[in-house]
Symmetry: C2
Subunit: 691 residues, 2 copies
């Protein structure tokens, strides 16, 4: 780290600390415990630190010609400071010192999260007539045994051999390798650099032994104490509990919502008139007991998922509405592009991607297109969003194809959704464990002639040959697969004795003991286990990406932060300001606020005597898209001004139209441009936008 970079970090810390001092003093000023001069002095000191920080950052960017990781961190620090200060989210249980990986959503966070979830529901569940379900989080062990989570839902952990402190092995190794690559004092030779880069790319897929080998090879120690580390061992990420008063029924908090859908497959299929394809969906909380959560909202122990399981005939994964997305061109980062020279995603029309076989099938591509459309509506910058295909070794053995929806943030590319063709794996697993057939029936358009092999044991002959083992041999013969049966037949037909395995031992059977025939059969249809295509979304992660892509500061005034939420997701749709503190204006503002509430539009009324500029600034910070100002003219001609947040443009609107107009803007039934064409513009006094 250069001297300049060190100075920047130091100033960032100082600014954060001074910010806390100011807030605490302000709170006490209200209680009468701190005096005003003290507060003002603290604010002045904070501004000085910020000016210094700003200058140093500009200097750094000029000298290095790139956006520094410090300025990324400064961006993130400014954003998270705003988000926590305005209670979008805060660490949970703060008065008890908090617990890592748990966050509370405050009023604006709660509202935006609901709007986002509701938009997801309208976009997927309503539009596609999906079957939505809601299942409990507490899940008996057998369900998660079947799904594989009890045995395999693990991360590799290492512990400090002296203190016992736990760390996540892959994170430690990644951190160490990244530090090696960034070390400017002792730079790695080119060849070694290439090797470390390759290792780094593979860490996510390594098992315990491979991670252990790297820890030994690079001499990685416990970061806090520099003590030696234990070898990596698997740690199950599920929260465990016990159901009922006897204490003998193990339960877990579900690590994903998907399993609730799979165990209900039979009832859902019946509900759907026994017809395929259909999709079921669930929105709900899932739980992962992360070893050492970091990265704020991106890695938490309790989080909201929205998952879709689209059940489909494995022989026909076309989608009736595919044409509606075929021309969309999201950035695709295919396996091929990842392995190629450029290593950059490219915009590709989804129709072409399916035609060329880049995306495995129409249904998967349909959901990629729909996901892209949704993210755009939610306020994600689509130039900073890509669909990354899993490399072959990243995918589970049963998966046909898998794409992650990734969004670029200051943390790098963040996986916000995964879209996978999981074949019949999940239904097969629950069929095996529950002994309940999770099948669908397909009636052929025409009956089909098929050749089947029938094996008929001759019980009398077997009795003579095997005595009391005869039954076991007969069962083994009947259970023979197609291929084994034909193999046995060819031996017997050739006059040789054949072999069959009974209870792990091979026994010899002769021709009279069994009849094996090939027969033609007419079938009207067949039972099969459907394939499932699973789009799975992390609501908190999408929300965080929306925060990052929405944050900016007003040109020429870096202290004035704005969140440019779309009207659809904005937590508060409008504010209502009486221009000055007058009884009549307040009364009118209250009436307008009530009309907005009645139209289902969340709104805030601010009757403080603060300047309009100050009130705009406060509401810009929580991303309120529209502000209604009630001035004296309102009393004369029953009209108010309506300001749009990002353009700061204002129009004059009759009070009778206000609620309807904002409702239409929020529902995307009209645009601000159309509204500005319909109603007269208001020339704004420059002073209005000043704090």
């Amino acid at each position: 780290m250069s001297v300049l970079e060190a100075k920047i970090t130091e100033l960032q810390e100082a600014a954060a600390k001074q910010g806390d001092v100011v807030r605490s003093l302000k709170a006490h000023a209200k209680d009468g415990k701190a005096d005003k001069a003290e507060v003002e002095a603290a604010i002045a000191q904070l501004q000085e630190i910020k000016l210094d920080l700003d200058a140093k950052q500009k200097e750094f960017e000029k000298t290095t010609g790139k956006v520094s990781s410090q300025s990324k961190e400064a961006f993130r620090a400014a954003l998270t400071n705003l988000l926590e200060r305005r209670l979008f989210y805060i660490p949970s249980f703060k008065i008890y010192g908090s617990v890592a990986g748990f966050y509370d959503y405050g009023p604006p966070g709660c509202a935006i999260k609901q709007n986002l979830t509701q938009a997801w529901r309208q976009h997927f569940v309503l539009e596609e007539n999906m079957l939505e379900v809601e299942c409990p989080a507490v899940t008996p062990e057998v369900v998660l045994k079947a799904s594989g989570h009890v045995d395999r839902f693990t991360d590799y952990m290492v512990t400090d051999l002296k203190t016992g402190d736990p760390y996540r092995a892959d994170h430690l190794v990644e951190g160490h390798l990244e530090a090696l690559l960034e070390d400017t004092k002792a730079p790695l030779p080119a060849a070694e650099k290439r090797e470390v880069k390759d290792l780094l790319a593979g860490v996510g897929e390594m098992d315990g032994a491979a991670l252990g080998a790297l820890i030994t090879r690079f001499g990685i120690k416990a970061p806090d104490t520099k003590n030696d580390l234990s070898p990596p061992f698997p740690f199950n990420l599920m929260f465990k509990t016990s159901i009922g008063p006897k204490g003998d029924m193990v339960g877990y908090l579900r690590p994903e919502t998907a399993q609730g859908i799979f165990v209900n497959f039979r009832d859902l299929l019946y509900y759907n008139g026994s017809k395929l394809p259909f999709a079921a969906a669930q929105i709900g909380n899932s739980y992962r007991n992360e070893i050492s959560p970091r990265a704020g909202l991106l890695r938490v122990r309790e989080f909201t998922q929205a998952e879709i399981e689209h059940f489909v005939n494995p022989d026909d994964k076309s989608h009736p509405k595919f044409a509606s997305v075929a021309k969309l061109e999201p950035l695709l980062y295919s396996r091929e592009l990842q392995m190629g020279e450029e290593k950059r995603p490219k915009p590709v029309a989804l129709g072409d991607a399916v035609a060329r076989g880049t995306i495995a099938n129409e249904t998967l591509a349909y959901f990629i297109g729909r996901t892209w459309l949704l993210f755009g509506r939610l306020g994600v910058d689509l130039k900073r969003m890509r669909f990354r295909q899993h490399l072959q070794h990243e995918m589970a053995h049963y998966a046909e194809d898998c794409w992650d929806a990734e969004v670029e943030t200051t943390y790098g590319w963040v996986e916000c959704a995964g879209l996978a063709d999981r074949s019949a794996y999940d239904l097969r697993a629950h069929t095996a464990m529950s002994k309940t057939e999770l099948n669908a029936y397909e009636k052929f358009t025409e009956p089909r002639e098929v050749e089947v092999t029938t094996v008929t044991p001759n019980k009398k002959e077997l009795g003579l040959g095997f005595k009391r083992d005869a039954k076991a041999v007969a069962d083994a013969l009947e259970a023979l697969g197609e291929e084994d049966a034909m193999c046995l037949k060819s031996d017997l037909d050739a006059g040789k004795p054949g072999k069959v395995v009974v209870d792990g031992k091979a026994v010899q059977v002769t021709a009279p003991m069994v009849e094996i025939k090939r027969q033609q059969k007419r079938l009207a249809g067949r039972n099969f286990i459907p394939s499932v295509i699973e789009p799975s979304f992390g609501i908190g992660r999408i929300l965080y990406c929306v925060f990052e892509h929405s944050y900016y500061t007003r040109e020429g005034d870096e202290a004035r932060a704005v969140l440019r939420f779309t009207p659809l997701v904005a937590p508060v749709k409008a504010t209502v300001f009486p221009l000055v503190q007058k009884e009549q204006l307040n009364a009118l503002a209250t009436k307008i606020s009530a009309s907005l509430t009645a139209a289902g539009l969340s709104n805030l009324i601010d009757t403080t005597g603060n300047t309009i500029g100050k009130r705009y600034a406060r509401t810009d910070e929580i991303g309120v898209p529209f502000a209604v100002t009630v001035d004296f003219q309102a009393l004369e001609n029953a009209s108010v001004t309506l300001r749009e947040r990002d353009s700061t443009a204002q129009i004059r609107v009759p009070i009778a139209d206000v609620a309807t107009l904002i409702r239409r803007l929020v529902d995307s039934a009209t645009t601000w441009e159309d509204a500005a064409a319909e109603y007269p513009a208001v020339a704004k006094a420059a002073a209005e936008e000043q704090q």
Copy 2:
């Protein structure tokens, strides 16, 4: 139980069993595994059982002149059969044999639950500008230690001394006492009957010893084995887990959502500009590891709560909007009425109830009124809803007043919401445990003169008198309460030595050692711990009551069940039926369905060739309020018929108006009566409503 009653019960069981057979056969018929004749025979048999059951029930009602508990049970059996069959809700993890106390909501259940929750949010959070928060369910032990749940959130349990099977003690005792009262073979003498009735009324409040005494007195045994029972012991109802990888941090799944609000009080007060009163709200899942859950949705282990914590100055519990509810007359079942002769609730205007002191304050009464209005909008029959005041011994010692919103169902009166003035208890408990002051500051309108007592130890004199214990004595003097200080002063003023307790021992002090004065002081305001008024709702319970109050069968046709959901809560708002299977009609129906979806109206399109009557019957069962039928006339004049579910009346509406009209009906912006006045009525063919 009479012979007739026994026969009714037997027939009910037979009908339920045969219903399962029919459903299973129908499912297999689709797979081609069961033949049609078999299905029809099963249906015929079911109808026979039902006819028999119906006759027996009518006979019973005629002979006894009252609605039998059997007909209550028959009502409930018919309703829950419908609800499970149409996937409103089903036992969770069915393919693994289910686990008591857990239910999944299927598509219509999920939709109605969301509509209900959303209505709650609009009615309370938006209308009152409440601060909504969302906190995790996983909660560290310290929070629930502070709240008292770790020590006291228990039910009394008894176990079968031979098998170890657990039972809830109060339920066993209640069951036994009820059976004694209902025993017609060996009826109790009048005096004993009165005593048993009194005991029964008190079981809910009994401690372990009292329950144990009754178990011994009445010789109550384990119901399944008739074995002896253990004495009752407390069982904590919280699900326990462990947070983080070290296994040393105990956590629980929250038993209520309220605590998340209390621990955030400081931040929420700051967010609200440090002003009182304000209310915070949370909707989320809570968890109670019930000993032996029964009664379907009414007692489950994972359930959705919606809780409000309204923080208020304890000296002023008026409510600015109280006038808006003062004239409402919900049925109030006050303490007085419960203790009186009639034992029946009465309609009382809330204004009068507060004026007479029946309800402790305006804010509590305001929420009672708002709750009553909401339940009405949700479809609860307000004649079967009452607010029951807690008797003095039911309330916690800190509670000022408490009312339960109860709804009458086949299970009796069900508590759906509790509205309590909890004084400062919760904030005080978290202040003590977290050492964080959870105060609000009140600025007096005018500075107040108050008289305070100051105690000033004389260190020199104390040093001479107490040597190295002088410091402890000085501390004890400074810590004296107002009253103790004045008591000491009067002794010293009278020339006597006074006493002060130091480390549990009384020591003597003399006049020169301490100066005690009364002084006038001017205070501009004061810090205080706010009182909290808590309306707390169980969403699943309200939902179940809405189901019961919505269920009826068409006059003259008991096989045709209808759920009369209000358009607001109905899971599906409209169906679209092409009159017959014709390409053109299907295409038009699909277009109309898409326009409904775009307006955010969930809808179903049914292009099966079934008769219109059959299609109406299927949608009546899930409570769809409006049906659009596309007939040949639609192709000529672009209009369709719209049918209202309960009146079965039809009007002719232009296709262009359909989505807007249904949207307005759902939003209560217009009524069916108004719509029927606006559009021409359609004379319906009687055949249409036939299946």
